[in-house]
Symmetry: C2
Subunit: 399 residues, 2 copies
């Protein structure tokens, strides 16, 4: 079976390497040899063995009936969206790590694949090498998925871990992450939660079977998390983690990306550094957690290659992923409930007690501030209650 | 699509319940309604709705061409082995939670399924609701699996957790587990490691693609683990866990079930109580961990129902699980290497230092004993070295 790789960047070269490294095993498992016929990239790679299969013109690949499977690992919307559509329309299965494209157009591309008797696979789009997509679609297929809570962005988890373990300031931890290659020079997509939002959209859509748009997912990044909050959280026995939070109730989906206090009794507390961890709760299976490296060349490439093998094995069978383009019914943000961690100026302690009651009595002190954890409350009620308080920070609590 | 359930015990009634509870969702995901036509059990269940579909004679089911899928949740070898073979020969796919049968005859039953264009599924045989089998066979299919280390028995993990957290003696912890329904009245299969051995055989066979027999897996249970060892392990920053340990190197498989010291930096350290955790290392994906309830009515039933849906979706397609009946090449036990925790009478400290060198200097004291951790050493060398020492206990170390 002949395949092509779109994009010879980090993940693309990883796919190339894994296919060569594990070729005997891949042939055995796919039931046929898998051969890279083309690699598409605008650049040249003089001296690299990839030169032999490198092309700059996508039409050569799309018009070649021998090519049955495409690994789209270019990232971004343009031209990945157009190329993917054309590949699927030509009956070629596409395996991707492109979370931006999957989040925005997954349902549509799956539909096109179905109509053209090919498949659209995207295991690598969430959690890198962690088999979360296939587990949701296949293994946990007997379950009604009621909740997903996950650490789906390694960069922010690394930063928060370093702040928590060694008391680094946010900026110092970010710089260290950049120096170690765990954060991009322009870290906005990670630290503002955009990357996590895309992954949350994909997971929420699969859990619901309907489209959950990024725009419908309230998202907060980690820029506002301070050393003070991390220290106070520690006093409460918690760490601060950026979570993808998805819940399904009464046919409605609530989804959110935000920093949360996570207590030691929760497995996610122990997911540190660049690792990802995703807790899935099914109505039969209960809680299952998936843990591993959520990014990186080989883990992500491994997931793409897993998809390629599946695509080869099931080539010609219609896709069975259930993800309708119809929009999921979303819960109103104000109606979502949970506890809140609140840090205020010590001077407003009396006022806080009037508003939030006894829970303020268990406050911890940090310099001139106090921090306390509220009772369970709706987002709307909470926002109303803090209006007259001098709130320095508020972070949701994962219970 | 009509199915039958063999056995209406804990798991069987769970399968019955999950299929009824999630029927709309199951129909959507399987692409067709799934209807329980028969439940086979020797017993009667007067007043239970299952009565309407209850039969005592397996031939009624095996001779009914309408039944395409069987959930075999009887457990044990007899008559499950014979019934499964007959079902597969009749072209009916079989989904099972029966680890004993899978460990002993998995390869043969998969082969019979292939020849009869049906399938043999066994997700529920390891890790209950944790999708470890499908992840090994499908999602991590692009990886060469180099190592699996896992807590695969919830009963022993519960006992060891209670001994570790609250200093309970082994017998007290076992009794508590029995009182809470986490251990059987006859706990031998769990505490002697037999249950873990079967699961290890299944995982090792799938990792290697060849048959790994239970008899080829050196197995130690947890009966010899004492409060003293747990206290000493704690001094070293470790917990004691019963691990399934599988490694592949130079085309050879080493597999073992034994208590291990696990340090805090390892995810398995945080897998406590009745939970299971399985760390899989692939040559591309790196370390991935799966965590969840490894037993229990609904988690196990959820896994069986997931298999039933897959069996319904792919009915008529040949099985693609790679598990040859040919025996895997096993590494010699004596050649396996690792560090050892050793507890000895304080009186033999000088002798121990002669034999094991500087590592004894970091020994911790426990009453009249000392405990130390050796350098990396082969099992054979270790056994030779401790011959003349007054060894009270020795436990492997997971690094």
């Amino acid at each position: 079976m002949k395949i092509a790789i779109f994009g010879f960047g980090t993940v693309g070269s990883g796919v190339y390497d894994v296919i060569n490294m594990n070729s005997a095993l891949i042939e055995k498992r796919a039931g046929k040899p898998i051969e890279i016929k083309y690699v598409l990239d605008l650049r040249d790679f003089p001296g690299n063995p990839v030169e032999k299969v490198l092309v700059h013109d996508v039409d050569i690949i799309l018009n070649d009936p021998e090519v049955k499977i495409i690994a789209e690992v270019m990232g971004g919307m343009k031209p990945a969206y157009e190329y993917t559509k054309r590949a699927l329309l030509a009956g070629k299965s596409v395996c991707t790590s492109n979370k931006e494209l999957v989040a925005a157009h997954g349902a549509e591309l799956i539909e096109i694949a179905k109509q053209n008797k090919c498949d659209y696979y995207f295991e690598a789009s969430v959690g890198g090498g962690i088999p979360i997509i296939r587990s949701l679609c296949d293994a946990l297929v007997g379950d009604d998925i009621v909740e997903i809570k996950g650490i789906v962005n390694g960069t922010t988890n690394y930063i928060l871990s370093r702040m928590g373990e060694d008391g680094l300031a946010f900026d110092t931890a970010l710089k260290e992450a950049q120096d170690n290659g765990f954060a991009e020079r322009n870290p906005a997509a990670d630290i503002e939660g955009i990357d996590a939002q895309r992954k949350t959209a994909i997971l929420a859509s699969l859990a619901a079977g309907y489209q959950v748009d990024c725009d419908d997912i309230p998202t907060e990044g980690i820029c506002a998390v301070t050393a003070a909050d991390i220290a106070c959280a520690k006093e409460f026995g918690a760490k601060i983690k950026l979570l993808a939070s998805i819940r399904r109730e009464d046919e409605k989906v609530s989804a959110m990306v935000a920093p949360f206090l996570v207590f030691e009794s929760c497995q996610l507390y122990h997911v540190n550094g660049v690792f990802n961890g995703i807790l899935v709760t099914g109505n039969a299976t209960g809680e299952v957690m998936f843990y591993g490296k959520g990014a990186g060349k080989l883990p992500t490439a491994g997931a793409v290659v897993g998809d390629i093998i599946e695509a080869a094995k099931y080539y010609g069978l219609p896709s069975d992923i259930i993800w309708s383009p119809e929009k999921a019914k979303m819960a109103d943000k104000g109606s979502m409930t949970g506890r809140y961690y609140v840090r205020i100026n010590g001077g407003s302690a009396v006022k806080a007690k009037e508003v939030f009651g006894a829970c303020v009595e268990n406050a911890v002190k940090y310099e001139e501030n106090i921090a306390f954890i509220t009772e369970k409350i709706s987002e709307a009620d909470f926002e109303a209650k803090i209006k007259d308080l001098d709130v320095l920070s508020r972070i949701r609590v994962y219970d």
